[in-house]
């Protein structure tokens, strides 16, 4: 099964397009002013703002481009920059179930509900996160899958749990296996000390909705500035028509599907008639 993306592949062609975009960004960046307090401004752009799910959708890649703009008089940072991008998909409430042996068979005996957690989460960086800043700060900024807050329903309360909670770990593992949660500390490529590029993998299973892209710029382990943008995953054409009809007009949709079954059966009995 092909898992290659259709949109903004990280192919040589895509990279060429990226450079053109980066050139545009550089101009854009010099025109628009960032926060006055920061010495650097961060300008980012995405290869697309709409990922379309059509009938041949098998996943996609959204390419993130960025440029760091320095004030004219500012001396360049000696240690260079680190970029950490966090992509957060639509929020979902998910029940995680645990199987155990009961009366000789394996059934779901225990469950935890994760409230409003991202359906999709990608944390991409320029180098291993623990080289960028100490663990304590990573945790505070929720960088890395181990540090992301995943609120659970615990009795009447909603709270995050300790990092080695088995449900939390299983949840992260399952999400990662389905490529819905991605932690890739080297996915962001620095094309020059101030230009970077990263590709955000969108698996076929990624649900429709708004995906927020939060890019943080670090220098010497300190947060310099950040930039947010977003893209939307949406069904189009036939896929959209069917999905909308199924939910909004369930009864009509069901009747049409049943009629389709009858017509198929009837046609078959005509085509293959042997008397």
């Amino acid at each position: 099964m092909s898992r290659r993306g259709r949109i903004g592949r990280a192919s040589p062609a895509g990279r060429g397009r990226g450079l053109v975009l980066l050139a545009c960004l550089a101009i854009l960046g010099s025109l628009s002013g960032g926060p006055a307090a920061a010495a650097e401004r961060l300008v980012t752009s995405l290869s697309t703002h709409r990922v379309l799910i059509n009938s041949v959708f098998t996943g996609a890649e959204v390419v993130l481009f960025g440029a760091v703009e320095r004030d004219a008089g500012e001396a360049p940072r000696r240690a260079g920059y680190d970029v950490i991008a966090t992509v957060t998909g639509p929020r979902q409430t998910l029940k995680t179930l645990r199987k155990d042996r009961m009366l000789g068979i394996w059934i779901n005996v225990d469950s935890r509900t994760f409230i409003d957690v991202p359906a999709y989460l990608a944390i991409l960086g320029t180098r291993p996160f623990d080289q960028v800043m100490p663990e304590e700060r990573l945790r505070r900024l929720q960088i890395g899958l181990g540090n992301v807050v995943l609120p659970q329903q615990i009795g009447p309360d909603i709270a995050d749990v300790v990092r080695d909670d088995p449900f939390r770990q299983a949840f992260l593992r399952l999400k990662t296996e389905r490529r819905l949660y991605v932690e890739d500390p080297t996915a962001v490529t620095l094309l020059s000390p101030t230009l970077f590029q990263a590709s955000i993998p969108v698996p076929a299973e990624a649900p429709v909705g708004i995906y927020e892209v939060d890019v943080k710029l670090f220098a010497d382990g300190a947060l310099v500035t950040r930039s947010t943008s977003a893209f939307e995953i949406t069904k189009v054409g036939f896929e959209r028509f069917v999905a909308t009809a199924a939910v909004d007009h369930g009864l009509v949709y069901g009747i049409v599907t049943a009629m389709m079954a009858l017509v198929t059966g009837w046609l078959a009995s005509i085509v293959f008639r042997r008397d």
């Binding site: 029940k95 076929a204 069917v242 199924a246 069901g254 079954a261 198929t264 078959a268 293959f272």
Partner: protein
């Protein structure tokens, strides 16, 4: 070639799904059953959520049983009056099944109930069919005389009140067991994503003494109506019927069924029953293995209602 399924929300290989439709269609044509008990597990196996698989398979079975029922109708090999009586129970059973399906899904135990029903029903029915057909084969070997096609004698079921005469089947029985059989079939079909032909046919033969020449056609009419209404009800309440997946499956299914029917006609009936019994038993045991062996992954997660 991959195609993205709009309701199941995953891409599948069209040719793989089409081939599954043909393969299951072949078996369904050969044995005169819907084949849902094979198709639903196959869909779950390729990654379709169990709930979507069950809801979608119902439309696939509706297509193949309509094609079959039309063929039997032309040969006048079905009993419409009996089918109508079975349907009264069948439709109530389907509605109950779809309702319980939704409840179990909300509670988070739908997968367990589907798996348990498969184990219990398929293992027991498959086992009985294997035993019965083996006895028939041994009997046929010992004395060449074929046993009576229609098992004679009356059971206590024939003593119940509300008797109705079914001319086509040359039958005079109470409608209570007829309704009860229809109800259980509709109920099981909606929950398990099976047409129930492999249970209905023996039930009609052994419990009601329906003659074998009309039994398959009659069972197909019941399967057709219960599965068509299950499609509508699943779509209206749970929004889980994937029309695109259903279309690929049913086109493959009706083509496969034609070749299956030809292959089936060349075989002796007790051999056919033995093969079907083994098949049903194998699927049941496969589910049992999953339930009794420690799973590789203890955890699973699912979306809560209303978040689609």
């Amino acid at each position: 070639m991959d195609i993205y399924l709009p309701i199941a929300d995953l891409p599948v290989n069209v040719f793989l799904v089409f081939a599954m439709g043909i393969a299951v269609g072949f078996i369904s044509g050969m044995f005169g059953i819907g084949g849902g008990f094979l198709m639903t597990p196959l869909l779950i196996f390729i990654g379709v959520q169990p709930a979507v698989a069950v809801a979608t398979v119902s439309s696939h079975i509706a297509a193949s049983s309509f094609s079959g029922a039309l063929t039997y109708w032309r040969r006048r090999a079905l009993d419409l009056a009996l089918a109508f009586m079975l349907l009264i129970g069948g439709l109530i059973g389907t509605a109950l099944g779809v309702w319980l399906f939704g409840v179990l899904r909300a509670v988070g135990q739908l997968d367990l109930v589907i798996a348990l029903s498969y184990v219990i029903l398929l293992s027991s029915v498959g086992g009985l069919m294997v035993a019965e057909s083996l006895r028939a084969i041994v009997r046929a070997h010992r004395d060449k005389q074929a046993p009576a096609a229609r098992p004679g004698g009356h059971t206590w079921l024939h003593g119940l009140p509300l008797k109705v005469r079914f001319k086509q089947s040359r039958l005079y029985v109470s409608v209570i067991p007829v309704w009860a059989i229809g109800l259980s079939m509709g109920f099981l079909g909606a929950i398990m994503g099976i047409g129930g032909g492999f249970i209905l046919v023996p039930a009609l033969i052994y419990l009601l003494r329906v003659p074998t020449n009309v039994v398959i056609g009659t069972s197909m009419v019941l399967t057709l109506v219960t599965m068509a209404s299950a499609t509508v009800l699943h779509a209206a309440t749970n929004h889980l019927v994937d029309a695109l997946l259903a279309l690929i499956l049913m086109v493959g299914g009706v083509i496969g069924a034609q070749f299956g029917a030809q292959a089936g006609q060349k075989m002796r009936s007790e051999r056919l029953r033995l093969m079907l019994g083994l098949l049903v038993l194998a699927v049941g045991l496969r589910f049992a293995v999953n339930l009794f062996l420690p799973p590789g992954e203890m955890f699973s997660f699912r979306l809560m209602e209303g978040d689609r």
